[in-house]
């Protein structure tokens, strides 16, 4: 017999369809904090999880606000973050 927990409804994971996608290479990040401090749209935040070296990489918590200016990419001293256009977004005719 199934327990209540097992019968919990499957909630589909919310698909993001934002225009920009931020790619972080956690292995290379040295946690300097330039990206989330100087982001003009406050898209990025410091992660709660640390990487293999013990540094805290950034997380895009407000990706909807991103306008793809690429300042995080330009300031990152470790080539560990970059902004990509989301192909899915344009395919589905997003704004």
């Amino acid at each position: 017999m199934l327990t209540r927990q097992e019968r919990a409804p499957i909630v589909p994971e919310e698909e993001s369809n934002t225009k920009w996608r931020i790619v972080v290479n956690e292995d290379w990040c040295k946690g300097c904090g330039f990206c989330y401090t100087f982001c003009p749209r406050e898209v990025l935040e410091k992660s709660d999880k640390f990487n293999t070296k013990g540094y805290y990489p950034p997380v895009a918590t407000n990706i909807d606000r991103c306008v793809g200016c690429g300042l995080c990419e330009a300031l990152c001293p470790d080539f560990a973050i970059h902004v990509e256009e989301n192909e899915e977004h344009s395919k589905r005719g997003g704004k």
């Binding site: 993001s16 934002t18 996608r21 931020i22 790619v23 972080v24 290479n25 956690e26 292995d27 290379w28 040295k30 946690g31 300097c32 904090g33 330039f34 401090t37 100087f38 540094y55 990489p57 950034p58 997380v59 895009a60 990706i63 300042l71 990419e73 330009a74 300031l75 990152c76 001293p77 470790d78 080539f79 560990a80 970059h82």
Partner: protein
Amino acid sequence: MTVTTRSSSDYRHPILEYIRQDRLPHIFCSACGIGTVLQAFANALRSLNFDMDRLVVISGIGCTGRASGYFESDSYHTTHGRAIAFATGVKVANPNLKPVVISGDGDLFAIGGNHFIHAARRNVDMLVLCVNNFNYGMTGGQMGPTTPDSAITVTSPDGNIEHPFNLVSVAAASGAVFVARWTALHARRLTKSLEKALQKKGFKFIEVVSPCPTLYDRYNRHGSGLDVMKRYREISVIRNFTDPMKAEIDYRTRIVCGEFVDTEKPEFTDLLASQAAELQKR
């Protein structure tokens, strides 16, 4: 999930075709500005679609001296202070090449000071990118020719009593045709200046003020590298084409940034070639 985290093997940063990916992650400390400068230079190469077969990256000794090892081009890691001498040799031997010297303030202005002023005087076609962190970083934070008044370093524990060089003023007085200063925070403007300088002929000099969170900024209680960058945001002012003598650089009051000199002058290897052609006619 909007942040895609990938392992290093399938990570595709747009500038990685200009960088030796097998050498990454690089040796620079967390929050050091040298990485940002490398990024800005690679971005300038990318936006110009620069011919990497013509590029020679040359550097001396020091933290910034490691820069030449990270570019996917021909490169020299030279003896201390002699980066500009090597670059002059490269340019004279093959005038089609574009030498770019990336080095620190100690290497270029203390040990290599004379090479700098005479290459600028001759107007040899090269781009000199100097990352200024106000001390000798790699050897443990000793004072150098750019250490400001009363700054604390390992070799000036009671405050520096020497007067520092103003690098943009030295470059302009020596005859450089393009002189600019930015901080590591001005990554975009630095990229634009680098693009301009790479297309120009003659001796170009760009100074980049960078945090040194492990040594200089720690001894002087400036906080972390991030705090130093925030301070740069507060105190830096942009004054294009101001007199380089008056372009002050003081962490307590203000740092004047901008492009200070942009002129034209006959270039050394051009003059050499035309003289050689004339002499052959005789």
